[in-house]
Symmetry: C2
Subunit: 242 residues, 2 copies
Amino acid sequence: MSTEQSQVALAVSTVIFALRPHSSGTPELVLPLVRRIREPYQGQWALPGGPLNLDEDLSQAASRTLLETTALEPRYLEQLYAFGQLDRSPDDRVVSIVYWALVAGDEADRAIQSENVQWFTADDLPELAFDHNLIVEYALWRLRTKLEYSRIAHGFLGETFTLAQLREVYEVVLRKPVDPGNFRRMVEASGTVVPTGERLAGTPHRPPQLYRYNTSIDLSDNGPLSQLEASRTLAFTRGEHS
Amino acid sequence: MSTEQSQVALAVSTVIFALRPHSSGTPELVLPLVRRIREPYQGQWALPGGPLNLDEDLSQAASRTLLETTALEPRYLEQLYAFGQLDRSPDDRVVSIVYWALVAGDEADRAIQSENVQWFTADDLPELAFDHNLIVEYALWRLRTKLEYSRIAHGFLGETFTLAQLREVYEVVLRKPVDPGNFRRMVEASGTVVPTGERLAGTPHRPPQLYRYNTSIDLSDNGPLSQLEASRTLAFTRGEHS
DNA sequence: CCAAAAGTGTTTGGAGTACACCCATGA
DNA sequence: TCATGGGTGTACTCCAAACACTTTTGG
């Protein structure tokens, strides 16, 4: 039993999801990766992240790295898992606490793209550094699972949206068509969404109603953890500079 | 931004659940706590745990502290959450990766009871050290939530059991009566359980069939994480010294 | 024969799915 | 007036809950 002070390093990484408009018409699920500039795995792509500062919470660290690599604010943020396998880093021992986040698609346009930060299709990634392929795979599974029983899809959208846009989120993420009529009823019954009264004009057909998210409802059922850090990012405090 | 090596300490704790026979006839959900022998919170009860050794996985550390405090092996073990609030420890900065575990009730009898290790009713705990009340609350929520959509109830029982015993696990944990007929169909349809052919004799009524768990089925739907540590503890390798 | 729990059968209501069908707008 | 998606109505299926009922043991 090693009695000396543990040399285990602690890091926080984040899997950031967004929907990017695609030439095919339907958007695609993408996430940003950063190129490693030193060993191990130099030159390979990895999840954004870094060490945990003494003066910040875990979720704050996740938000910070998210902001640093993408210049975006998360619209949804949740802890994914703590990875601590012995062999996940070749030389040192690192435990990574991983978060996953949703950012709005229209903002992802304005996001940073550079030599060392690029967005990849979530379902078609290169070989990543460390165990990050497994981590992304798990984050994808959680995203898809949670989308089906929780109401987080609006995290991909802006302040207001049509039900068709919201439905498209489901179709792209879950990779299956969703019946428009049943989807409308499902969403309306959940009470998670409120009509703004305005309509989206300029369409070549009947103008659809615009909706806003019902902020008075807890969307991610995390039980008692709602008191904690996870809930803080649920309030949509985006620059309402009117 | 603190550039020096982070001084954040990493610990692993475990919430251990068991069903203990009770004088009222119906068992009760209990968990072991350890009394703190030094500051902070000296004298108060806390979750079993400790620092992470360099040569062990996170789940190994959880199993180890579980073994050290109760002399038991977990029949189910799953990561709960990583807690890293700034103020959760008064003086130093500690990030705790918490696991939750199920142990068999008949084994919990043989478990350690001492001055500094005691079992408490899960729904009626004293004020614990650190943020451990919140942690237990969350673990309880996860246990109850997971029991309803996953098949982990046998983790409270021995090798073989009757459906009435299994049903009692649900009734005690979920704190509500369960219809025997529907429960039987539900369990049989899930395929998670296999009749042994033997019957439990000595009852004042019709002798019930004994069942064994179907080990060829993955019980905890953790998606891609099944490859990882979480799955290792699912194999029931208890002393089959025949 | 009786009590009590094991085990089976039957009914029903609600939720999700499939799909037919009107509505409102731009061109 | 037509094409297109917005939005509504309706029938059907499946599963879970409720509950009546039969079976098998010990006393």
